[in-house]
């Protein structure tokens, strides 16, 4: 195949991809999950087991979502939130069943990554609140993974 044919073929393919794929295909919850897992990576070396199960969805700017999770006293947990929208700002916070902030002070937010650390004082249900604080997109995919040790 000569250089011209190769370039023409690539350009045609790009055009096909641009027109055929829906707008939403620019990012998915699976992409968001890979960013959440990226945030979790350094903690695996510290002995955290990251669960395969995860939560995900999409939110508009300023919207929040709560997920409920059973946590066990004696374990230590990190929750990692990620989105593929690089200019978005997201956050994750953890509350106990009474609605009291339960996370450790080393929880953090860095643009399209955020993480919350909790050492449960009691075994029971906790609320994990995820939020898209700011985003250039109308809807922003998010994924939340967690690990424990």
């Amino acid at each position: 195949m000569n250089r011209f044919t190769k370039i023409s073929l690539q350009a045609s393919l790009s055009l096909v991809v641009c027109f055929v794929l829906p707008r939403g295909a620019a990012g998915t919850v699976d992409d968001a999950q890979s960013f959440a897992l990226q945030a979790a990576e350094p903690y695996v070396k510290e002995g955290f087991q990251v669960r395969e199960d995860y939560w995900g969805g999409d939110l508009g700017s300023g919207e929040k979502k709560a997920v409920r999770q059973q946590l066990f006293k004696g374990n230590e947990y990190w929750f990692w939130l990620g989105t593929e929208v690089e200019r978005a700002k997201i956050s994750v916070h953890i509350y106990d069943s009474e609605g009291k902030l339960a996370e450790q002070p080393d929880s953090w937010e860095k643009g399209h990554f955020a993480a919350a650390h909790v050492i449960p004082k009691a075994t029971g249900s906790y609320f994990i609140i995820v939020a898209v604080e700011e985003s250039p997109e109308e809807r922003t995919h998010w994924a939340l993974v967690y690990g424990f040790r």
Partner: protein, 266 residues
């Protein structure tokens, strides 16, 4: 005295610090749980090893006592296979706690054959192979991870073909076996902290709600589990009080009865 350039640098650093600090959204100290509860997503069911890990920290457990490898009955009803599959995966986590390589390998093969029985064998074959390899090398962390992946893959495959209810039964089977073992360990060596690990009322509600939405699975075992969960709920829903030794013993009786129902033919 600080030079101009140095003070400029310090100001820039201070400004950057303030900007970075300001970019972190301060979390409210309290939220209205009642209001929030309306917007809550489904719970992720904890894996048995998450509970076993917390239990281990309370004192050493003789996990070998709980290893189970004998083959259970063969079923043709898909809901029964799904429940059994969850139970067998939980047995895998117990065998890992006991660091029993032959048991892990046997359980890996059993998981594969049950998955085939329910039509999701293809997605499990690589995990079963990885479980065997990791058990041979006694890489227990890898076995744990593969068991988690196995359950996740089974459920993803079921969800893909809209068998979400079967997927929920896999989680339920695993949770019941985990709770049976947890309550057995705590019955034998009672401690308030150990008993507190059974404080899972929301998970019980979660399973009860799911079972109520499965009227098409009109099987005796499903009805037994429904009534068993109803018996367990008041024993664990104790608010800030402690779960008593008597309650733990009762939970163990109920979950043992249900587990027997899952692994044996009616």
């Amino acid at each position: 005295m600080i030079s101009f350039s140095k003070s400029l640098k310090l100001s820039v650093i201070a400004l950057l610090g303030v900007t970075l600090y300001a970019s972190a959204t301060p979390a409210p100290q309290r939220i209205d749980v009642k209001q929030m509860s309306k917007k809550v997503e489904n719970v992720v069911v904890p894996l048995p090893n998450e509970i076993f890990g917390a239990l281990n920290k309370l004192g050493s457990v003789n996990w070998r006592e709980y290893v189970r490898t004998e083959k259970s009955s063969n079923f043709t009803e898909r809901p029964r296979i799904a429940l059994l599959l969850g139970t067998v995966i939980a047995d895998g986590f117990i065998a890992v706690q006991a660091e029993d390589a032959p048991a892990v390998k046997e359980i890996g093969q059993r998981v594969l054959s049950l998955s085939k029985g329910i039509g999701v064998g293809n997605s499990i074959t690589p995990h079963a192979k990885a479980i065997t390899e990791a058990a041979d090398k006694r890489k227990w962390e890898n076995v744990r991870q593969e068991l988690d992946r196995t359950q996740s893959s089974v459920q993803a495959a079921m969800n893909e073909v809209h068998d979400e209810k079967l997927s929920q039964l896999v989680s339920l089977g695993g949770w019941l076996r985990g709770t049976q073992v947890l309550s057995s360990v705590v019955t034998k060596h009672f401690s308030a902290d150990g008993a507190e690990l059974l404080h899972q009322p929301d998970l019980l509600v979660h399973f009860q709600t799911q079972l109520q939405a499965m009227p098409e699975f009109n099987l005796p075992i499903i009805r037994d589990i429904q009534s068993g969960l109803g018996e367990v709920k008041p024993l664990v829903d104790v608010g800030s009080s402690h779960i008593s030794p008597e309650s733990v013993r009762r939970i163990n009786e109920i979950t043992t009865r249900l587990d027997n129902g899952i692994v044996t033919r009616d």
